[in-house]
């Protein structure tokens, strides 16, 4: 059975002008020891999905439909008090802000210890210290640095500390929201390497959220491509990158300049993503799609299997 299975998750934000349909009808599964990549441009709803999983949506955000099954238990109806037992232990998150996700007035070690103490209040201080030291070692930080404050850490080390924190309570699923995005390319490569190592060594189940398809290609076995609040293509990473079906996925892959191969003029997807307060009728990608047909403007396509097993795509070209 999948460790995490999301079924028809719909999260909207309430604004004065109406509901912003940030994530609609999102379904996916993460197996034990598997990494799933959630890819898409800014504003496509990928971070909303991450925040929904932990139920830490900002004010106005609301899960309106769907189920989040963590080892069979649905998280959606849980109260705030019950959710506290799930966070860090059931699902943990590695935040993006390597620069400001840590509290500047507490020592790094103490912040990691907090995650342990929340779940195991009876553990002796000496044991907590030992575990923090071990965690820091796991992520490649000298354990003596536990007594440093965040400003004494470099960007890469802060991101490592956040990973250590996410691992502190031995969670079933780790959500990594744009890890390493604000960092330099070499440090980012170090962080991704660490995540891959941890996944192999500890058998972590992971959801990796990124706007950068290449990062997902290098780390994940499974990919979900999101556009304007919906998953448009979902399946095995090799299949999606070798044989993308949805016109948006195809465009997105082509828009990435590759460091290998000939010098070419880059191609882009014309237009820009729609306003989620009032998304276009039918397929949400239809105003930008090069293969747009009449039916695309009227009927919203559903995610259906096409070609290989488990490869689903939501596009009228195939159904």
């Amino acid at each position: 059975m999948a460790v995490l299975s999301v079924e028809g998750l719909t999260t909207n934000y309430k604004t004065l002008r109406g509901w912003v349909r940030a994530a609609e009808d999102i379904s996916f599964e993460v197996e034990q020891g598997e990494a799933m990549g959630l890819a898409g441009e800014s504003g496509c709803g990928k971070s909303t999905v991450a925040l929904s999983l932990l139920k830490i949506l900002p004010p106005g955000g609301k899960i309106r439909k769907g189920k989040i099954l963590l080892s069979g238990q649905d998280l959606v109806p849980l109260s705030e008090k019950e959710m506290r037992k799930i966070r860090w232990k059931g699902i943990s998150i590695v935040f993006q802000g390597a620069m400001n996700a840590l509290n500047p007035v507490f020592k790094v070690g103490d912040q990691i210890a907090e995650a342990i103490k929340t779940h195991e209040p009876k553990v002796a201080d000496s044991e907590v210290r030992e575990r923090v030291a071990k965690l820091l070692e796991t992520v490649g930080i000298e354990p003596s640095r536990a007594n440093n404050y965040p400003h004494e850490f470099s960007g890469g080390m802060r991101q490592r500390a956040l990973i250590a924190m996410a691992l502190a309570a031995d969670p079933s699923v780790v959500v990594a929201d744009e890890p390493g995005t604000a960092l330099d390319v070499i440090v980012q490569a170090q962080i991704l390497r660490l995540l891959r190592d941890l996944k192999d060594r500890l058998g972590l189940s992971m959801i990796l959220i990124s706007h950068d398809l290449s990062i997902i290609a290098e780390t994940c076995e499974k990919v979900a491509i999101m556009y304007a609040g919906r998953i448009v293509e979902y399946g095995d990473a090799v299949t999606i990158f070798k044989d993308p079906k949805h016109p948006y996925t195809q465009g997105l892959i082509k828009a990435f300049p590759s460091i290998k191969g000939e010098k070419v003029r880059l191609t882009s997807i014309p237009g820009s993503p729609p306003d989620l307060l009032n998304p276009p009728a039918g397929c949400r990608f239809n105003p930008r799609c090069p293969f747009v047909m009449d039916v695309c403007k009227r009927v919203e396509p559903i995610l259906e299997e096409h070609g290989d097993k488990g490869h689903t795509v939501s596009c009228h070209l195939y159904h």
């Binding site: 441009e41 800014s42 470099s154 960007g155 890469g156 330099d184 390319v185 070499i186 440090v187 980012q188 490569a189 170090q190 991704l192 390497r193 706007h211 950068d212 398809l213 290449s214 990062i215 290609a217 290098e218 994940c220 990473a237 090799v238 990158f241 070798k242 465009g251 997105l252 892959i253 828009a255 990435f256 300049p257 590759s258 460091i259 290998k260 010098k263 070419v264 003029r265 880059l266 191609t267 882009s268 997807i269 014309p270 820009s272 993503p273």
Partner: protein, 350 residues
């Protein structure tokens, strides 16, 4: 403006035209330095002997041809943005010379620079911050015309604004003239920034990470637009980017910077496909590839960029370099021509 800090070195600059300056050279930079002195407390000034400086740009030399797209690549903290600003004299250099169309501009006053500013423009990274939110598009794009007083009448201003907006494909321009920046998407805003930079028909433009804040799917069209504008106006452009893959596809030549120094300089194909410097090799190996079957085999170098206040002795990259040997810590490698038109600063090639 930090004009107080600048102390132009009198010894090694001459305002005469350098003899090797070709006719098609728009810009030539020689031994350019920008050091920011660190502010110290009173007690520290009394007891410590040495003044501390952040060596943001240290002895950089290169030249830029007419119509050339020249990329400055490197990690954050490598000094690429500072170099871009110094070239436009938005920041004053500490020493060295900048020859713009054969004229040394390092010693000109801001007043003397003003007519030259018609020829040099900048496009900033973040179109959400570089456009004044309280000005309408027409005024934003017309501002250079008004500052330089080149348009004779209000009708001409509007005519030229419309023309340049059409060039950057903000069409129809009439519809956008009286809008505010918040009514535009990120891609459109950056097009407006491009229009503002090109309205005076400059011969030299610095673009500082112009697409890094934009979504991937619209990056390419803004990049292509900039290439087209450069070609059309036969301008030269310095394209500052941390993304070597992007630099490869758009630039004619690439300079890779590390801690204020140029480590490697050549055509974009040579730098990216056949890098000589270990740092460039590491940078390229670290770029993720959108192919799930090519799992990374090469090792990632460890550590992060050291502080530019106290860079390592000798070669600045030696603390992270897998090939570092004794000589690297004592002697600073000069930028030499290792292969034809391929410059590298590394002891492996000397």
């Amino acid at each position: 403006m930090d004009s107080k800090i600048s102390t132009i070195d009198q010894n090694d600059t001459s305002s005469e035209l350098p003899p090797q300056m070709g006719a098609d050279e728009v810009l030539r930079v020689e031994n350019l330095r920008k050091w920011y002195p660190l502010r110290r407390g009173f007690v520290e000034t009394l007891f410590s002997k040495n003044e501390m400086n952040v060596k943001a740009v240290d002895l950089v030399s290169f030249s830029l041809k007419r119509g050339e797209i020249f990329a400055l690549a490197g990690e954050s903290g490598s000094g690429k943005t500072t170099l871009g600003k110094v070239l436009l004299r938005l920041v004053d250099p500490t020493s060295g010379s900048i020859f713009f169309h054969g004229k040394d501009i390092t010693k000109l006053t801001q007043r003397e620079l003003k007519p030259l500013r018609r020829e040099m423009q900048i496009i900033f990274q973040d179109p959400f911050e570089s456009l004044n939110p309280r000005m309408i598009i027409k005024e934003i794009v017309a501002e250079p015309l008004r500052v330089q007083k080149v348009a004779k009448s209000e009708a001409e201003v509007e005519e030229r604004v419309k023309q340049v907006l059409t060039e950057v494909e903000i069409v129809p321009p009439e519809e956008f003239l009286y809008r505010f920046p918040h009514e535009l998407s990120g891609g459109q805003r950056q097009r407006v920034a491009v229009a503002r930079a090109f309205i005076l028909n400059p011969s030299f433009v610095v673009a500082d990470e112009p697409v890094s804040m934009l979504d991937v799917s619209i990056r390419a069209e803004v990049v292509n637009l900039m290439i087209d504008m450069v070609k059309k106006h036969s301008a030269s452009i310095i394209f500052i980017s941390h993304d070597l893959a992007l630099a490869k596809h758009i630039a004619d030549r690439v300079a890779v910077m590390y801690l204020g120094k140029v480590m490697e300089l050549s055509t974009s194909e040579k730098v990216v496909d056949g890098p000589l410097h270990p740092y460039t090799q590491a940078l390229i190996a670290a770029v993720p590839v959108p192919d799930p079957e090519s799992k990374r085999t090469k090792d990632v170098i460890s550590g992060e960029i050291p502080s530019p206040v106290d860079p390592p002795s000798g070669c600045r990259f030696r603390t992270r370099c897998p090939y570092a040997h004794e000589r690297c810590s004592t002697e600073e490698p000069p930028l030499i021509e290792a292969e034809k038109d391929h410059f590298v600063a590394c002891h492996l090639y000397t």
